[in-house]
Symmetry: C2
Amino acid sequence: MIRNSTSDIEDLIALMAKLPGLGPRSARRAVLHLIRKRALLLTPLADVMTEVAATARECLNCGNIGTREICPLCTDPERANGELCVVEDVADLWAMERALVFKGRYHVLGGTLSALDAVGPEDLRIPRLVDRVATEGVSEVILALNATIDGQTTAHYIADQLQGQVRLTSLAQGVPIGGELDYLDDGTISAALRARKEI
Amino acid sequence: MIRNSTSDIEDLIALMAKLPGLGPRSARRAVLHLIRKRALLLTPLADVMTEVAATARECLNCGNIGTREICPLCTDPERANGELCVVEDVADLWAMERALVFKGRYHVLGGTLSALDAVGPEDLRIPRLVDRVATEGVSEVILALNATIDGQTTAHYIADQLQGQVRLTSLAQGVPIGGELDYLDDGTISAALRARKEI
């Protein structure tokens, strides 16, 4: 790609270009930025990547990513309040945590059921979820799956598995805070209208 | 930011978010991707970053980034054809190299003159350029600076310094290949019209 340049820098550009959100052009820009900010950015980033590559692992209980066998969310006794929030992946767990409103524990499925991609219940962390509900004193399972077809299929499947054992809830659907009606899809508007509330 | 998560992963997200083209959300996504592709992406990236952090340096002659005191472009005897292409920064050198058309050597200024940002000739690699023209058997200096006000100011300044010593040229201005007139700015259209050619 860059003739006569050094292969380490080329390799770095090629690897950076594989990150989601970066392409070849922005990878080149990022690498130049990294080299210019060597002490402030490149060296610390190399060090912390080495550290994370050596230590990051999935929590054996819930599937969250951390550095221990069992993650801090699963071992925190204050979070054993009987509420278990089921999410598709760790990014969703992080999004819930940023909202600062949920105080229970999580269960990360690691994806959704998908006939097209041949993902079945045994490929996700669903058997472990059924175990946890039976053994961890769970009183409510909140299905916080994405409002996509695969997400909703998965939610229905899990609800079938747990029916009668526990209170099952899902996130409310409606107009997002700050959302403008004009920019919302029809499905959201009709869901918000059906779930309308007295003021 | 991510409460109860491990601080290495938080640190990695915070550092990734400082890259141009990534924000907090895309940095989180990139970090999850890195952790999922640990062997294929995270470990190699950490290794090559460590290597580049240790070895990357500016060529003492032209300002290109490489791993040697003098870069391969400056030591390649086939490139000593008397043509010297002056660019603002290394990204521009890379862009010229990708076009596979220029066979001479480069000189990277490291920026443009700017009254606003108090960048004077001594802050750029302009004295070194004047030296090189006098000592390297340069017959033509191609000013490939950006078509911005600062870029053109810098080109005029350099042209003044080198006037009479060497042939001075600049890149042609006109309609980009594949460009649609409807999307071009007025300045480009009038430049292309003034420089029109017989067919």
